[in-house]
Subunit: 246 residues, 2 copies
């Protein structure tokens, strides 16, 4: 499916050496993908980069220019490798400093005498950003322009996504219908399925083989924003599967 001007698009930028080394397995991409699909926002691209300023800044600028929204995860804690907020400021060419609203949020959880320089890093927010509350550990995320900066810890990321979600402009939600084709090998229906896809340009049609203990189990998924277009394509797919099942 191609992006059309009336769609709302998004990208995700995952920031962190620990994902690239394999030490931590990312769970946020799938969570955000599900969330955006339900909101009618097209997730168009994901990038994962290490904790290096040049790569983070480059990715922020490439993705925020190209999509309606950019969501980042990771790199907003108190340690030296948490450089996301500074990179966002650099990407936008704006200043960054301790934000008094953010400091107040930290003080809901941290005693004043424990609010050392490292912890105060979590209150460094680019000028002009809106804060995203963090119901779990208080240190906020933020939004500036179309860039939404969230934590990497999955439970905190989820809390921030829930907080920022209602402020997003959603598109028409993508409708999806799955046709089970289990008994039929993918290569048997692929030619005719391609012809159906060509006839229904507004419908995104994919074929997804999965391995199960009983062998491959194939599913055909049709997705579209418009119910009528979707129903017409699904009717043809179901007729194809029924004919090949005989």
């Amino acid at each position: 499916m191609s992006a059309t001007p009336d769609t709302v698009s998004a990208a995700i930028l995952v920031i962190g050496d620990e994902i690239l080394s394999g030490r931590t397995k990312d769970k946020n991409i799938g969570t955000i993908a599900d969330y955006l699909t339900a909101a009618g926002i097209d997730l168009r691209e994901v990038r994962i980069v290490p904790d290096e300023a040049a790569m983070i800044v480059e990715a922020i600028n490439a993705l925020r220019a190209r999509y309606t929204y950019l969501f980042t995860t990771g790199g907003i804690g108190p340690t030296h490798d948490d450089i996301t907020a500074d990179c966002v400021a650099e990407a936008f060419g704006i200043g960054i400093d301790v934000d008094e609203r953010a400091r107040a949020m930290l003080l809901e959880r941290i005693k004043p005498e424990d609010l050392n320089e490292a912890r105060l890093r979590m209150a460094r927010i680019p000028f002009g950003a809106d804060l995203i509350p963090n119901s779990i550990s208080k240190a906020p995320g933020f939004r500036i322009g179309n860039v939404i900066v969230m934590a990497g810890v999955p439970a905190i990321m989820q809390a921030m996504l829930d907080a920022v979600g209602p402020t997003l402009t959603g598109g028409a939600a993508m409708q999806s219908v799955t046709v089970e084709a289990h008994g039929i090998p993918e290569g048997t229906y692929a030619g005719e399925l391609g012809a159906i896809a060509k006839r229904h340009g507004a419908v995104s049609i994919g074929s997804y083989p999965m391995m199960t203990p009983e062998g491959f189990r194939n599913r055909i998924v049709a997705r579209a924003r418009d119910d009528g277009s979707l129903a017409a394509a699904v009717a043809e797919i179901e007729a194809l599967v029924a004919r090949l099942s005989d």
Copy 2:
């Protein structure tokens, strides 16, 4: 950690609408990340793009120019949305057609009368590529230049990775030491940890909070190729944790 000229680097390009829609949760990134780390190859970047030729070609060319190896997953099946091989050929500016070696592999599993046009798509290989055997469903992956093209189904991807692994040039394997800091809040050690990281430039030091039912549990991970550098940094980290635990 910055890439130095003697390191071997890699990127992963995951191709597929089903990952971006959230319908399928990617498992290949973590598998390949673990594999590369063990082989001493630095995974530096990951991108996920939809089944659209322009985006696939752009990503292939950006990533193959920048890193020692590029691994792709997905889009090499028999259906109309499987366009990875054609995109690789386009990215390299070379031709593509049915490869007789690949056709022979398909015929190990598929009867000649069932080898229709759709299934033959799985034998379309860019000119000059080396095939990567697929012990599970026979349809091969391939390697051309520094680009390694694999299936998206995790079990098949794993079989292809195992097949291609011994042909890769590995770097010195990255050594990793984890120091448990559970009792100590991240914000308490962050300042001094940053100073240690600054003193040990050859060592990549990260701090990773995890939420557990008992609250945050923090781990400090130090990584380096050189044992001596690593040991020196770890000694300082352990001393820091021991002092703060008192």
